[in-house]
């Protein structure tokens, strides 16, 4: 399983935490497609707390954190 944690507007219309079968996804971008999140709307994508690319591999036990832009002051 992988744990997917969504933040800010990505939670709207979606569960904020989801546990998914790791075998269903090869790359980080595949998880975005499954969740219907356009790639160009993602500002920060962390796997196990580290900055990741959409082409990075997904592995059993990974914790994903996905954020849209939130940078106002």
């Amino acid at each position: 399983m992988i744990e997917v944690r969504l933040f800010a507007t990505f939670r709207e219309g979606r569960e904020k935490v989801q546990f998914l079968d790791a075998k269903e996804f090869r790359k980080a971008g595949d998880v975005l497609d499954y969740l219907n999140i356009p790639h160009d709307e993602v500002a920060i994508y962390l796997i196990n707390g580290r900055h990741s690319k959409f082409t990075d591999s997904i592995n059993e036990g990974d914790v994903l954190a996905i954020f849209p832009p939130v940078g106002g002051g």
């Binding site: 800010a8 904020k16 500002a43 962390l46 707390g49 900055h51 832009p69 940078g71 002051g73």
Partner: protein, 235 residues
């Protein structure tokens, strides 16, 4: 006595209050986040506040930037903020700069600071501040807000920075949607974090991001890993 209720706290006491009174904090940006940050730091007795902003007060600021009133529209924010904060606490020193921060002048604003607080609304200044604070080993309290959402984290040489997270590629909508309550919550957390850092308390947000969700009424924490190849950390 002005600080007697916080001196009653075991985490502060007379010794902690003296630490706060002796400290210098640089606050960059006097807007939605800057208003609560500066108000609480001035109230808490931070001895010297350095405030930097390049903006004037506009009507659309007034839904969240409570340092200002309608009579301030068109005036420099640093001037109005200093006046308001000095009314709140005339025992502290407040230095205001109406200047745009750049690599050439940033040292003038932050070199004397024990903590820097980022309250700006653009990525370029966030990246500039991050690199400058890392190279000087000054703790930086970062935060961002939009709509009902916000986040906060602290940055130091041993913990993740915005560039470790790929933040430099972020595109922020302008003008960004925002409600005053979100800026109030996150700005208050920034001031609290700054006070904890000065007091040397445990539980600070280095290597940790708090995400506030004002729609569901929740705060989540995410552990962050420093990127050993990060340009900002390498200096």
């Amino acid at each position: 006595m002005r600080y007697e209720r916080q001196i009653l706290m075991e985490q502060i006491g007379i010794e902690g209050q003296e630490k706060l009174n002796r400290s210098t904090v640089a606050v960059v940006g006097c807007g939605g986040l800057g208003s609560p940050v500066l108000t609480y730091l001035a109230s808490a007795g931070i001895g010297r506040l350095v405030i930097i902003d390049f903006d004037v007060v506009s009507e659309s600021n007034l839904n969240r930037q409570f340092l200002y009133g309608a009579e301030d529209i068109g005036k420099l924010k640093v001037v109005c903020a200093k006046e308001r904060l000095q009314d709140l606490n005339d025992e502290i020193e407040i230095v205001g700069f109406h200047e745009k921060i750049s690599t050439d002048n940033i040292g003038k604003f932050i070199d004397s600071a024990d903590v820097v607080i980022d309250c700006v609304d653009n990525i370029e200044t966030r990246i500039l501040l991050g690199r400058a604070c890392l190279s000087r080993n000054i703790p930086l309290v970062e935060a961002g807000v939009e709509g009902f959402y916000g986040w906060i984290m602290s940055i130091g040489v041993e913990s993740a920075c915005l560039e470790c997270m790929g933040f430099e590629h972020m595109k922020i909508p302008r003008p960004g949607p925002i409600i005053g309550t979100t800026a109030g919550v996150i700005g208050s957390l920034q001031a609290n974090e700054c006070i904890k850092i000065i007091l040397g308390m445990k539980g600070t947000l280095f290597g940790m991001m708090l995400q506030y969700d004002g729609i569901n009424g929740s705060i989540d924490s995410i552990e962050l890993q420093k990127d050993n190849s990060c340009i900002a950390h390498r200096g």
